[in-house]
């Protein structure tokens, strides 16, 4: 069995703060991490590998430093990593990203399952999984919360719904997008992780030419959606900071809430 797992390096957005003067994002000191849902995808792939003797390849698109998430994936038990890195990939929307990742899976060639996280915390779109599946013309199941069994040419999974779940049999090759409920990711094995960070680690770097794509098909140029403008959200709020000791500010607040008849 061959499994391909798609992972992304993201800024740890739980730590994000605004510069009070400019309203801009303070980016200094924000750590890069493996996207949380993707960690569950790696765990799922490595878990299946242990049960079914699969070979697992992790693929990531990103700048050179994104190699760290591939090392981490290898530390968790993935066999090899492929980093898709090229200036031409920059500024990609989900259309161009799914072209790039989908093409990489095609170039790898043989696979039974592609597993990825439901969504990345820096974009929250949840679009890449289904779009890569459509690029590859294979069926997919998103929001996978359980993998029940793997048969010869199909996989039986649970798909999380807002008010319960579905049990679905999906023919293979297939793509699954997974959510945190699926499993508890293991920590990377220290020895493996150290090896995975060395020069001879089983990690390849592919650029746009290695994928056989044109620069016009990827990155900002290959995107179908474009940012017209960005702005710090403005709100018509009173923005009144109440002053005084705790007793005073609380009674002041309750007075105001009574005034507007909320309490």
């Amino acid at each position: 069995m061959k499994i391909i797992v798609l992972v992304k390096q993201v800024p740890d957005t739980t730590e994000v703060q605004l510069d009070p003067k400019t309203g801009n994002l303070i980016r200094e000191g924000i750590e890069s991490i493996m996207n949380p849902d993707d960690r569950h995808a790696v765990e799922a792939a490595v878990g299946l590998k242990e049960m079914l003797q699969a070979r697992v390849t992790a693929v990531s698109m990103g700048p050179p430093q994104a190699v760290d998430v591939l090392s981490e994936a290898i530390g968790m038990g993935v066999d090899e990593g492929i980093l898709l890195s090229d200036r031409a990939f920059a500024g990609a929307d989900t259309w161009a990203t799914s072209t790039t990742l989908g093409r990489a899976v095609e170039v790898i060639g043989e696979y039974d399952l592609v597993i990825c996280g439901r969504q990345a915390i820096d974009g929250d779109t949840a679009q890449i999984g289904p779009q890569v599946a459509e690029y590859l013309r294979i069926p997919h199941v998103s929001y996978v919360s359980g993998i029940e069994s793997v048969e010869a040419d199909a996989v039986v999974v649970r798909r999380r719904l807002e008010d319960g779940f579905e049990r679905i049999r999906c023919s293979m090759p297939a793509l699954l997008t997974v959510i945190g409920e699926l499993n508890v990711p293991r920590y990377p094995h220290v020895g493996r992780l150290i090896d995975a960070c060395r020069e001879k680690a089983p990690i390849k770097v592919w650029n746009v030419a290695d994928l056989g794509l044109k620069t016009a098909e990827v990155g900002l140029e290959g995107s179908l959606t474009h940012v017209v403008k960005t702005f710090a959200p403005k709100f018509q709020r009173r923005s009144e900071i109440l002053q005084g000791d705790t007793r005073t500010v609380v009674s002041g607040l309750l007075d105001r809430l009574k005034e507007i008849r909320v309490i």
Partner: protein
């Protein structure tokens, strides 16, 4: 792609610096300079009045889409019950269609669901495309995509909206890739640009505290998903609509998936979207006991508690109470944010609250910028004080 500054054209106005989501431009000797951290996203290109920001991107021709007409809404139903987001989208679609001088259509797919068409018409649909077949009984990505692809090819709509539900977020990307169009997820605002007459799609972006307005100039239909609870449904009793049944030719063999079982779970799901008062906690609450105190305050105010992603991940509160980009969107009368810094992912879910109160130790926390009233202080002092004053008859 690469972005650079023509120094002789730059007048040091700093517009590009403000537009850069990555903080990758700085001013040097009164001229903008692009730093290594530039990702080539292109956000600075549009804002430069001097045309001093250059890139090696080739300008792309915008195709002629004058034959494209109609604002479509995917009407999500499961088990014969319409998802409320479908009606919310119709309310918005009506507004967009009026601005364009085009009509609103709903796509209703399933098996034996024709009776729902009337509800869609009453909420603004002027046409309901009705596709009924046993293969469409349970939602499945491939059969639904096949049907929608055929409809799009035949009728050439201009805009297609879907709810950002577990179904919509599965179907929309599949359809967009199939018909070759861009897609913007989880929009909080949709509008028609009066000049270009394109759909402007606004959403929180770049994983940070910025909103981005996104356009889809190069493909049709312009596709977007919208979270439940963000738009408002409007009943238009006098609206007239036409139901257009169309033949569905699908083979079960090509569906790719079989739904073996649908299991409903009686989770004690709190419907935050209906709550009048929400007391929400974040990292600053510190532990589960802290949430019990918030619970007491919420009880006194006739409200419910909610939490940020961090609070949910720490296990202080259930995932069904998460407010934000990955949780629920809420619009209560009063939202009290305790120990919440106010990252945009959280604000995306609560900025439609009528009144917002913030309690936080850090005066720099972004939450204060969106609050009506702020208290800078330790919530461990402030919240018990609120409880005490409310109990001692301040309510009377």
């Amino acid at each position: 792609m690469t972005v650079w500054i023509e120094r002789e054209l730059c007048n040091g106005c700093k517009r590009c610096i403000q537009a850069c989501p990555y903080g990758a431009i700085e001013l040097e000797d009164g001229k903008a300079r692009i730093l290594e951290r530039c990702t080539g996203c292109g956000a600075c290109l549009a804002v430069c009045k001097q045309e001093a920001v250059k890139s090696d991107i080739r300008p792309r021709e915008i195709p002629d889409f004058s034959d494209r007409s109609g604002v479509w809404v995917f009407a999500e139903q499961r088990g014969g019950v319409l998802h409320p987001v479908s009606l919310e989208l119709l309310g918005k679609a009506r507004e967009l269609a009026e601005a364009l001088g085009q009509e609103v259509a709903a796509l209703l797919l399933g098996d034996g669901v024709g009776a729902l068409a009337e509800t869609l018409v009453r909420h603004g649909a002027e046409k309901v495309f009705l596709g009924e077949d046993p293969v469409l009984r349970d939602y499945r990505s491939l059969p639904y995509t096949d049907v929608i692809e055929n409809l799009i090819e035949k009728h050439k709509p201009n805009v297609l909206l879907m709810g950002a539900t577990h179904v919509g977020r599965d179907l929309a990307p599949r359809v967009s890739r199939r018909v070759g169009v861009g897609l913007t997820a989880d929009c909080t605002e949709l509008a028609i640009d009066p000049g270009e007459r394109i759909l402007l799609q606004t959403r929180p972006a770049f994983g940070g505290n910025v909103m981005a307005t996104i356009a889809n100039r190069f493909s049709r239909p312009q596709m977007a998903t919208v979270r439940p609870g963000v738009m408002e449904a409007r009943e238009i009793p006098e609206n007239q609509g036409e139901v257009i049944p169309f033949p569905v030719e699908l083979s079960e063999n090509e569906a790719g998936t079989v739904v073996l079982e649908v299991v409903k779970e009686e989770r004690q799901r709190v419907d935050l979207s209906q709550a009048r008062v929400i007391v929400a906690g974040g990292r600053g609450v510190g532990d589960r006991a802290g949430f019990e105190v918030l619970e007491e305050l919420a009880g006194l105010l006739g409200g419910v508690t909610a939490g940020t992603r961090v609070a949910v991940e720490e296990g202080w509160i259930g995932a069904d109470r998460q407010v934000g980009q990955t949780g629920q969107s809420v619009r209560p009368e009063l939202y009290i944010a305790c120990g919440i810094s106010g990252a945009i992912q959280h604000r995306a879910g609560m900025m439609n609250a009528r009144y917002i109160v913030a309690v936080n130790k850090d005066p720099r926390a972004p939450i204060f910028q969106v609050a009506d009233w702020g208290i800078v202080g330790d919530l461990r002092d402030v919240v018990p004080q609120m409880i005490e004053q409310l109990k001692s008859g301040a309510l009377g």
